[in-house]
């Protein structure tokens, strides 16, 4: 199989008490691309993410990442291998400042995270790097603000900065633009394009304009199964896809 596939699933299946949320999904994400996973509500996109990052264990199937079988790895180990996710519901540390949020991610590689006898002053050596990351996502002036007080769009930006702090080879973004205003979307889109220059991005996104603008490849999921795959032009012409989206209720379709 081609060496430039960074993440591959074969026959990935997840059953919840008889209900099959993800069914026989085979996915191949090429290194260095932006790959979008789309589909109507309840299609199984988040479940897929949870399977890929080991927050859930698959009922059947296999996952390989950079040539290693990660089907039964632990979620923390997945992150350590360079596959880092964000969450559909904004995942920040609410009562830590923006700077501290990013610093928590930087801290792990410092190797002092179990040092309960040392002063936290040690962590100040990370402030410079954390500050740079905040600048990169446009949060420079928010560094001392607790995350809980940031507007929604800024929280998502903080989340991306925190993810970037791990210098992941691959980022999984679950609806990074959900709930964002127009301006935030523009900025985040530019940000994703920028950070995707030297890494792979797999993202779930409902905003079709964003999907069209950013993605190299799109996989459409419906009722847990892969419905179509290809470029935006190919996928949007696919009658099955149109059908699936028409059939789903109340779906924003750009």
């Amino acid at each position: 199989m081609s060496a430039d596939i960074v993440l591959r699933t074969e026959g990935l299946t997840k059953e919840f008490k008889g209900f099959v949320a993800v069914k026989n999904v085979s996915l191949a994400v090429r290194r260095g691309t932006i790959h979008a996973l789309i589909g109507p509500n309840g299609a199984g996109k988040t479940t897929c993410f949870n399977l890929l990052t080991k927050f859930l264990t698959p009922t059947a199937g296999r996952i390989t990442y950079s040539g290693q079988d990660i089907t039964y790895a632990s979620p923390a180990d997945i992150a350590r291998m360079g596959l880092v996710r964000s969450f559909q519901i904004s995942a920040v540390f609410p009562h830590l400042t923006s700077l501290e949020n990013v610093r928590v991610a930087l801290q792990r590689k410092m190797g002092n995270s179990f040092h309960f006898w040392k002063s936290e002053r040690q962590l100040q050596s990370l402030d410079g790097k954390a500050g740079e990351l905040l600048e990169a996502v446009g949060l420079g002036q928010y560094r001392a603000i607790p995350a809980v007080e940031l507007p929604y769009g800024r929280k998502r930006a903080l989340e991306i900065a925190t993810t970037l702090a791990l210098e992941p080879d691959m980022m999984l973004l679950d609806e990074p633009m959900a709930g964002m205003g127009h301006e935030d979307i523009e900025r985040t889109q530019a940000l994703i394009r920028r950070v995707a220059k030297d890494r792979t991005v797999l993202m779930v996104e409902h905003n079709m304009k964003v999907v069209a603008n950013l993605s190299d490849t799109i996989t459409v999921l419906a009722r847990g199964e892969v419905l179509a795959e290809g470029s935006y032009a190919e996928v949007s012409r696919n009658p099955a896809v149109v059908q699936a989206y028409m059939g789903s209720t109340g779906h924003a379709h750009g």
Partner: protein, 324 residues
């Protein structure tokens, strides 16, 4: 914006923490020196204060509710009394041994409990604590119903020169141990490790997704908490002169929850205040109110949960707009 949100403690010790610490030490010293309160009573309060601080390290800074902390306090008390009565070790070594025993027990119980969340975690810790209680009740070396007394001929000299038969000396000795334990906890909270604990408490899935093996951090925190509870329980033996079944029984686990709750969970000084209030109530109402003490405690519990969630120090911190 959100004015009520707790202010974020910037890195480094804030000045008002030094002040609060000074006030706490001064009050303890004054209570013994100037107000002429019975030093043995004060020493007992300090033991419980350390116990409550150790418990609070888990509930307040990791978000884990242990309902079995009597196991650590109690088994440490037995270990300490045993080392004194059977081996004739000096007090400081008895206490050190007790802390080690509690830490080892913490590693075992924590190893089983740490993966569970919420009420399941509480139930497992409770179940283990009841097992320890059962052992204490049945085994020979614990003295069953009688408990373990420190014999009258035991040489109560700490570090070779502190005569603990003298009540004032005993008080200073216990204050010293309390302060060591308190400062250890303060450092743990304000360490690189403490920062990760905070992150786990704030958002566990996110901490995992950043590559932290959160169970390992929780286990280390659990063992630290057990060791410090053991430090307190082991010291207590030299204050009351014995280890008894009440030390390992479940109401003791409940009491430490109440102390932390009343003083303010997740605050630094709260558990100390909670212990002072509760032990004082118990001590002075025991003769006057008898069984009503439990009712009063129950009332305090209900009041805390319903109207007073932040606890004494938590409310104070809110008024002062400073984390305490």
């Amino acid at each position: 914006m959100i004015a009520q949100a707790p202010a974020i403690a910037a890195i480094g010790t804030p000045r008002h923490h030094y002040a609060a610490f000074a006030v706490m030490v001064a009050l303890a010293a004054l209570a013994q020196g100037a107000f002429g309160i019975y030093p043995v009573f004060l020493a007992k309060v300090l033991c419980f204060a350390l116990f409550a601080c150790a418990f609070n390290l888990l509930i307040g800074f990791v978000g884990l509710l242990s309902f079995g902390h009597a196991a650590f306090w109690g088994s440490a008390a037995y270990a300490s009394a045993h080392a004194a009565a059977k081996w004739g070790l000096p007090p400081e070594l008895c206490i050190l041994f007790a802390a080690f025993v509690a830490a080892a027990l913490g590693a075992v119980i924590g190893g089983f409990a740490i993966r569970r969340q919420g009420i399941y975690f509480a139930m497992i810790t409770l179940a283990f604590a009841q097992m320890i209680f059962f052992i204490a009740l049945q085994a020979k070396f614990t003295g069953g119903e009688d408990g373990l007394q420190i014999p009258t001929n035991y040489r109560r000299i700490a570090f070779g020169f502190l005569n603990l038969r003298d009540n004032a000396t005993l008080f200073w000795f216990v204050l010293g141990i309390f302060l060591i334990g308190f400062l250890v906890i303060y450092r743990v909270i304000h360490s690189p490790f403490g920062q990760v604990l905070k992150a786990i408490r704030e958002n566990q899935p996110r901490a995992i997704s950043l590559g932290y093996h959160v169970d390992r951090y929780k286990l280390v925190a659990f063992v630290l908490s057990a060791a410090l509870a053991g430090l307190a329980g082991g010291t207590k033996v030299f204050v009351t002169g014995s280890a008894a079944l009440t030390d390992v029984n479940w109401p003791m686990s409940g009491e430490v929850v109440l102390m932390a709750l009343l003083g303010g969970m997740g605050t630094i000084f709260g558990p100390v205040a909670g212990a002072v209030v509760l032990i004082t109530i118990e001590e002075f109402l025991a003769e006057r109110a008898g069984a009503w003490v439990s009712v009063i405690q129950g009332g305090i519990f209900v009041l805390c949960v319903l109207a007073f969630r932040r606890g004494i120090v938590g409310e104070l911190a809110r008024l002062l707009k400073k984390p305490l």
